[in-house]
Amino acid sequence: MSIDRRPNTTIASQALWLMHSPFVTENAAELAARVTHDAGDDLDLAIERLYAAVLSRTPNSRELSTARAFLENTSDFAALAHVLVASSEFLFVP
């Protein structure tokens, strides 16, 4: 934690916490389970619900296709939720 100027916002130990702590990974997994359950088989709807839940907005078309490509590659919706939770848009005022 630091104050005043923050041109170098986070340090590695904070990043490690966001990447590996059970608190973050478990919450991301639960979030993923919730939105995929709510959206049924509709993957785009699941991504939209994820954006709504984490960032309180809808994804733009590029974000939607990026997310879809990530899921085709990894088949891991919780991993997608984890990335959004680690994003600066979720953690900081944009």
């Binding site: 630091s2 041109p7 986070t10 340090i11 590695a12 990043a15 974000e63 600066s88």
Partner: protein, 482 residues
């Protein structure tokens, strides 16, 4: 809520963006100077090809040392029972101190108490050491003693903060943070400032915090004082092996999403550096999980080295492990490593048994560290600093104890361009008050000078003025230089 957009000199702040958007372009003037080095005119300049905050930076003048290992003896080891030999204290045992005690004392003390340990001269330099440090004493010609140290605060918390940050009144950056800010790091895959098993009390995190310096310069703790060194780890360091590939893909996605420009162009330009720095911290974290476990893999050392540090003995294994970690981190290029022998040296009573026990835990590992650094050719460029937050009184407390004494104490340096086999500063005939004085600010100024940094020019602008590790004080002890 944390504002990610605040640097003043190269990045437009939110206020500047608003002003610029309103036509006030003057707000953007003068933003080309590097934000991370508060030097005006001549001085160190960051390599223009790199804007990474931890990029190695040229010091102000030729450095004698490249990195620091600070062996912190928390609690206050007694100068008059270790290295500051006082024959008159021996002679006048039990008599009153023949001059006034300080006006401000931590607690009442009685009459003079002779050291229970015998002193002898060692090495070619013939400098004195007590029986408490038989192994370190064998290397006395490598040591550069600072014997007239003094501070102001007679309580542990204030004294720790003053030693670590230069201030016992306000939250200020740790000396490790200042040094990292001044010099950058030699290894981009590790944090540049690491503290091994630090104490969580007596200032705690403020002793390794970057305070108003950017968070990048904060110390990274490995374990804490409540954890045996064998179990000290960097928290959340590694992903499950089967997730390593997925994590790479995740970080690429994170970078892709973060770098997508927001619709507002002014906001986008203001965010760029902050976001890049944040992404860089994730990349460092990602690389660290590969590099740090290998650097911290003590088991890869051969048995001879392990026993050099006392890993094969219950008494010395814990601090020995810390010292060996310190050598490995330092060798890997970590700029400032601290090892804490935590809060053990506070003998208000039971001096004889407990100081002996404390010394027996650190003496061999410290000697091992010096030997190991020297045989690897690292001692010349690695500055080892030993000492506590204050010393102890020559007058007795509780029969067989000594009180805190910030008015005169001893630290020593080794390697890093210091003059081995020499001593600087002095205390009175009983070791109570510094006579040839070296203030804690002077210690800091001297450390920075050994690293090639001018303590008056290593500044950072905060809250409307430039700040220094040494505030408005600090005299470099040049006689300590080789």
């Amino acid at each position: 809520v944390i504002d990610p957009v605040t640097p003043r000199r190269s990045l437009p702040s939110r206020r500047n963006v608003l002003r610029a958007a309103a036509g006030g372009v003057a707000a953007l003037a003068g933003l080309s100077a590097h934000p991370l080095f508060g030097l005006t005119g001549a001085g160190a300049r960051l390599d223009p090809t790199s804007n990474h905050p931890l990029a190695p930076r040229r010091p102000h003048f030729a450095p004698r040392a490249k990195r620091v290992i600070f062996l912190f003896m928390h609690g206050g080891p007694s100068q008059i029972d270790t290295f500051d030999y006082k024959p008159l204290l021996e002679r006048d045992n039990g008599k009153p101190l023949p001059f006034a005690k300080p006006r401000v004392q931590f607690a009442e003390t009685g009459n003079l108490l002779a050291s229970p340990w015998k002193f002898a001269q060692h090495g070619q330099s013939g400098m004195w050491a007590s029986e408490l440090f038989p192994h370190v004493a064998k290397q006395i010609d490598r040591l550069c003693f600072l014997k007239g140290l003094h501070g102001t605060n007679p309580a542990h918390g204030g004294a720790l903060l003053a030693l670590h940050t230069g201030s016992d009144t306000f939250v200020r950056p740790s000396m490790g943070s200042w040094i990292l800010y001044g010099l950058g790091t030699e290894n981009p895959d590790l944090p540049g400032f690491v503290t091994v098993c630090p104490s969580l009390g007596h200032g705690g995190v403020n002793n390794w915090s970057s305070a108003f310096l950017p968070g990048t310069y904060q110390g990274t703790p490995i374990g804490n004082a409540g954890v045996p060194a064998a179990q000290a780890v960097i928290e959340h360091l590694t992903a499950l092996p089967e997730r390593a590939h997925l994590e790479r893909v995740q970080l690429d996605l994170l970078a892709q999403l973060e770098r997508a420009a927001p619709a507002d162009a002014a906001l986008a330009s203001a965010r760029t550096d902050a976001l890049e720095a944040r992404l860089a911290s994730f990349e460092l974290a990602y690389r660290m999980q590969d590099v740090a476990p290998r650097v911290l893999d003590i088991e890869s050392e051969d048995d001879a080295t392990k026993s050099l540090y006392g890993l094969d003995d219950m008494r010395t294994a814990n601090f020995g492990r810390q010292c060996l970690m310190a050598r490995r981190l330092s060798e890997a290029g970590v700029r400032f490593v601290q090892c804490s022998h935590s809060y053990k040296w506070d003998q208000h009573g039971n001096l004889e048994a407990d100081h002996a026990k404390n010394a027996s835990e650190v003496d061999l590992p410290i000697a091992g560290l010096l030997t190991d650094l020297a045989r690897r050719g690292l001692l010349d460029e690695t500055l080892v600093l030993w000492g506590g937050e204050f010393g102890r009184t020559p007058t007795a407390q509780d029969g067989n104890g000594r009180d805190h004494n910030p008015d005169g104490f001893t630290m020593w340096m080794a390697g890093g361009g210091t003059r081995g086999g020499s001593e600087h500063g002095s205390t009175d005939d009983y070791g109570y008050y510094a006579v040839d004085k070296i203030h804690v600010h002077d210690l800091h100024a001297t450390l920075l000078a050994l690293l090639g940094l001018d303590h008056e020019r290593l500044t950072y602008r905060h809250a409307g003025r430039d700040f220094r590790l040494t505030d408005v004080a600090g005299v470099v002890r040049r006689s300590a230089f080789a």
